[in-house]
């Protein structure tokens, strides 16, 4: 129970996010209006995704250094969760864009970048699926994960900053910086980000434990049948 404190914290933070995010006072801005509350649900998805992929890459590097299969499972688990966060981020973003921009897909550089990122990680899982040898799968997918992450950085961090984006906060739109300074949103936004990231780590850890258990069961059956 002692090590579960962060899970309890995640649940509490998320309850607070949902209640506070939907009920507390937000600044009134033209066009955005009440949809500004998407900040508590849509934006943390991207924070979560980046953190998950970062953890995945760290464990991929650790795998290449130590060749411990556990590191490979952890890396894949985080990549999986990151992909779910990315898909949810695109989904929530499309709902929001439908009301503020008029169409769900507007060809915004950030939208395209996120779509490419999810494609990369789908390719990662295709690669894992097409390799039978466990050791080889772990090594090659670790290499691809590191390479893909290196390719992702310019896509989601640099290109959107070079070109004008329709996202709030860039290109002169009423945006993030303006209402980030507005301290009415901060008390919910930061806990929301922390809560969603903790939830992501939790999901990943459950997945990793399931995989480890499955592996053990397979080993047992193999031993018994011999």
């Amino acid at each position: 129970m002692k090590s579960a404190w962060w899970k309890i914290l995640a649940v509490l933070l998320l309850i607070y996010t949902v209640v506070g995010g939907l009920l507390m006072e937000v600044p009134r801005l033209v066009i955005l209006n009440e949809s500004i509350r998407a900040l508590y649900f849509h934006v943390p998805m991207w924070f979560g995704m980046v953190v998950m992929f970062l953890l995945s890459v760290i464990y991929a590097i650790r795998y290449l250094r130590h060749h411990d299969p556990l590191n490979d499972r952890i890396s894949a688990g985080f990549a999986h969760t990151g992909l779910i966060f990315g898909l949810l981020g695109i989904g929530t973003g499309m709902i929001w864009a439908n009301y503020t921009w008029g169409t769900p897909w507007h060809g915004d550089p950030k939208q395209n970048g996120s779509a490419i990122t999810t494609l990369i990680y789908f390719a990662y899982f295709v690669l894992r699926g097409s390799l039978d040898n466990q050791e080889q799968r772990a090594r090659l997918s670790a290499v691809y994960a590191i390479f893909a992450f290196a390719a992702m950085i310019p896509l989601i961090f640099i290109i959107p900053r070079l070109t004008s984006s329709m996202h709030p906060g860039s290109g002169g739109n009423p945006g993030f910086n303006m209402y980030d300074l507005d301290s009415t949103m901060r008390p919910v936004f930061y806990p929301a980000v922390t809560g969603w990231i903790l939830l992501g780590v939790w999901i990943a850890s459950v997945r990793i434990r399931i995989q480890t258990a499955e592996e053990k069961i397979l080993d047992h059956e193999y031993e018994r049948n011999r």
Binding site: L64, L119, V126, L127, R139, A150, I158, I159
Partner: protein
């Protein structure tokens, strides 16, 4: 090192059919584009020209680089493994791929100019872009080709793995090409050029660092 590069060339040109099949592939792609568009007056919007050009190049170049590891026989690889370090091999592959890609891109530009007219106004800048993208393609794809060669359906995996990685390079290239066609001032493309160089360096550095881990098996 130099011998390794020479070996690449010799083994490739012993099978001349590979190089010519790539060129033929490119020519038929361009010709299909020409027929499909059915342009008699030979005018094409800049965006469409550059999109078509890079699409045709993309599929040809992915095919070209995919061959660089898939075609090597296991016996040859084992022999190379005992002779040289993996770093030397990846550098040789990248340099060879760079020269191959440059040749193919130049050929692509020639055939596009032949059938789909030649709207490029700033030719030196355009060739600079071709060189940069060729290097980017060969550095990124050589590593992926080595990965794909290990899987049981190599060519399929190769295209799936490479497209998302390549998109960054491709987007920059398309943007610069459009600027070249519109005859804009070079300062207009400097951001994209800089980013292209950065992506290239990143790709090459990571290929160099990661390749030894693939090579080990």
């Amino acid at each position: 090192m130099k011998e390794l590069l020479l070996y690449q060339f010799r083994s490739e040109f012993r099978k001349k059919s590979i190089f010519f099949s790539l060129v033929l592939y490119l020519v038929s792609l361009v010709f299909i584009n020409y027929l499909a568009l059915g342009i008699q007056n030979r005018s094409l919007a800049p965006a469409i020209w550059s999109a078509l050009f890079w699409m045709a190049l993309l599929s040809t170049l992915v095919n070209a680089i995919a061959k660089s590891f898939v075609n090597d026989r296991p016996g040859t690889l084992g022999y190379l493994y005992s002779l040289v370090s993996p770093e030397e091999i990846i550098i040789a592959k990248i340099v060879y791929g760079f020269i191959l890609c440059t040749g193919i891109s130049a050929a692509g530009y020639f055939f596009f100019a032949l059938w789909l007219n030649n709207p490029i106004q700033d030719v030196p800048l355009f060739f600079g872009t071709l060189l940069l993208t060729s290097f980017g393609f060969s550095s990124a794809l050589s590593l992926l080709s080595a990965i794909a060669a290990k899987t049981n359906n190599g060519s399929m995996v190769m295209s799936i793995l490479s497209f998302p990685i390549i998109i960054g390079i491709l987007l920059m290239a398309i943007k610069i090409t459009k600027n070249c066609i519109d005859g804009l001032d070079r300062a207009a493309s400097s951001d994209e050029l800089l980013l292209l160089v950065a992506i290239n360096l990143l790709g090459a550095a990571f290929s160099y660092l990661l390749f030894p881990y693939i090579w080990r098996s």
